[in-house]
Amino acid sequence: MGAQKSEVIIKVDGLKKYFEKKNLRGKVLKCLKAVDDISFEIYRGESFGIVGESGCGKSTTAMLLSGLYPLTAGRIEFKGVDISDDRNAQVKEHRKKIQMVFQDPTTSIDPRMKIRATLEEPFAIQKIKDMEEHIDELLRTVSLDKTFKDRYPHELSGGQKQRIGIARALAMSPQVIILDEPTSAVDVNVQAQIINLLEEIKEQKDLSYILITHDLSVVKIVCQRVAVMYLGKIMEQGPVDPIFAAPHHPYTKVLFSNIPVLDDVRPERIILQGDVPSPSNIPTGCRFHPRCPNAQAYCKTEEPQMRSTGNGCMAACHYMEKGTEVI
């Protein structure tokens, strides 16, 4: 990687997505802030992890990046070109280069189409000829036999279906692939196979990954940098190694302490009370304060800003800024 690493492939700046419930006159009744002002950069050849609980907005971020939702505010740049504006004719060309692999392969592949038809579709839409060769090539990349072309999804195991999902994402030779929980529907052995396959493909094709998951141990293996999201905001982000070695934000600490691990080296488990609050009714001040083990009075009123914590990491927490030992 080395010199390439500085090349920014995706730049997200102040991204917001609000889902608004309006009455007939257009008055906003309820506003669900799914993604609320997040910014990050993804370098070429890197895997960027986004972690957080359900409802934290990580899947919405994926949808926004792949252009499946319009933005409320903010900017998404792909190689320096703004791709958030649909009216720009160039945008379509660039969007092809960002593809997505979905969480559950069973529901994201049409059960009534043969694998051949599923893989043909992207080529047909883009009016590309010699589909057959391309499909063989795709299947080879994901280590599946050619004979799979004439099978239906129900004849495939979960791992094989996810391979088809990956093959479909690779069809348009993308530069960025968004992986939305690619291994949460399969067991550990298949997960290991898929993770290794993804690593191989990444090296072969010089791809960048955005990995969305709640499994931190997968992030540790796959990613170089990670962002921890909570209720639509990034709480902490930076390179994987320093963050895993010494997380600064209390929420990150909680997440890390909750991973079931086989090794005996693990921090003492911190059990959070309650569920993630609803994104339509976000707590004031720091959004984590109602569940935070060391929340102070000022956490309820002031929203903390992102500050550098060294080693290229950033975190948004008052407690940490005041220089007190956390937890």
Partner: protein, 327 residues
């Protein structure tokens, strides 16, 4: 072990599904026992027969299933000889089950109170008022905030983590002798998973015994006393959790443990067991794991390895291990 009271005894359980022209041998000769107050973990890949094993104990199987066993006894009751009607008084009262996807096992049309009191009234033969009181106590036991509000809620108003807690409360409401949890945390986030696992650990004291099914061995290590590793409908290794986790003997157990991503993993590649689990219609002869086994010797392909006790309380079915240890 002699002083402990035996809770569940399963001997040579075989569950076959008859199809049009073939027989699926989903579970093929499984024996284990649980003592009172013990938690047993059942691990294995998808398709190794974990769920069918517990469903055979519950006798909760489709009509084309044929269950034979030398014995399935729970507290001295022969579960195999019970009639359909007698089974209804066993389900929920003697054996309770928690399912993988809680939202699909709860009726969306009734409030939590109606669903909980229904079960309690049926088994405990109490008046509705008393049942509501018990239901509320159970919700408090599983650490539910605002139990009165929750009782009046419909399932869609609650999060997946809360519904899983309700399922646990519901299964505990009639003081079952045996609690079976079938992948209780697969559908949940890490923080909620930690809450549920802590809860399961705590309620071990309230039930006679616990069977926990999962493919994540790290979860089993946290909660269970003993573990059974299943492969293709057979038990390949069983014993004390710490012995099996730290000194795994069967090549399959070693492979499963290697596939789990670890936080202190320096290597960016995961090791995994190549290939897929064999078809249960026509399983390989000899040791069922032999086609995928790295250390298989000729005898593995011909004869089925018997279960032998290598260390007291740690059983394994493998010829290679037998030879190594000179048994």
């Amino acid at each position: 072990m002699d002083t402990m009271e035996q809770l569940l005894n399963v001997e040579n359980l075989k569950t076959y599904f008859k199809l049009m022209d073939s027989t699926v041998m989903a579970v093929d000769g499984v024996s284990f026992l649980i003592n009172r107050g013990e938690a047993l973990g059942v691990a294995g890949e998808t398709g190794s027969g974990k769920t069918v094993t517990v469903n055979s104990i519950m006798r909760n199987l489709p009509l084309n299933a044929y269950v034979t066993a030398d014995a399935i006894t729970l507290e001295g009751i022969d579960l195999l000889s019970l009639s359909e009607k007698q089974l209804h008084s066993v389900w929920g009262k003697k054996i309770a089950m928690i399912f993988q996807n809680p939202t699909s096992f709860i009726n969306p049309l009734f409030t939590i109170e109606e669903q909980m009191t229904d079960v309690i009234c049926f088994h405990e033969k109490v008046k509705n008022k008393q049942a509501v009181k018990t239901a509320r106590e159970m919700l408090v036991l599983v650490g539910m905030p605002d139990p009165d509000v929750v009782l009046k809620s419909y399932p869609f108003q609650l999060s997946a983590g809360m519904i899983q807690r309700i399922m646990i409360a519901l299964s505990l409401s009639c003081n079952p002798s045996l609690l079976i949890a079938d992948e209780p945390t697969t559908a949940l986030d890490v923080t909620i998973q930690a809450q549920i696992l802590k809860l399961l650990g705590d309620i071990k004291a309230h039930t006679g015994g616990l069977i926990l099914i999962t493919h994540n061995l790290a979860i089993i290590k946290d909660i269970c006393d003993r573990v059974v590793i299943m492969y293709a409908g057979k038990i390949v290794e069983w014993g004390d959790v710490h012995q099996v986790m730290y000194l795994p003997m069967h090549p399959y157990t070693k492979g499963l443990l290697d596939a789990i991503p670890r936080l202190n993993n320096q290597d960016k590649r995961l090791r995994y067991i190549p290939g897929n689990i064999p078809s249960a219609i026509d399983p390989p002869s000899g040791c069922r794991f032999s086609p995928r086994c790295m250390v298989a010797v000729p005898i593995c392909f011909e004869q089925e390895p018997p279960m032998c006790e290598k260390v007291p309380g740690h059983f394994v079915a493998c010829y290679v291990i037998r030879k190594e240890r000179g048994i």
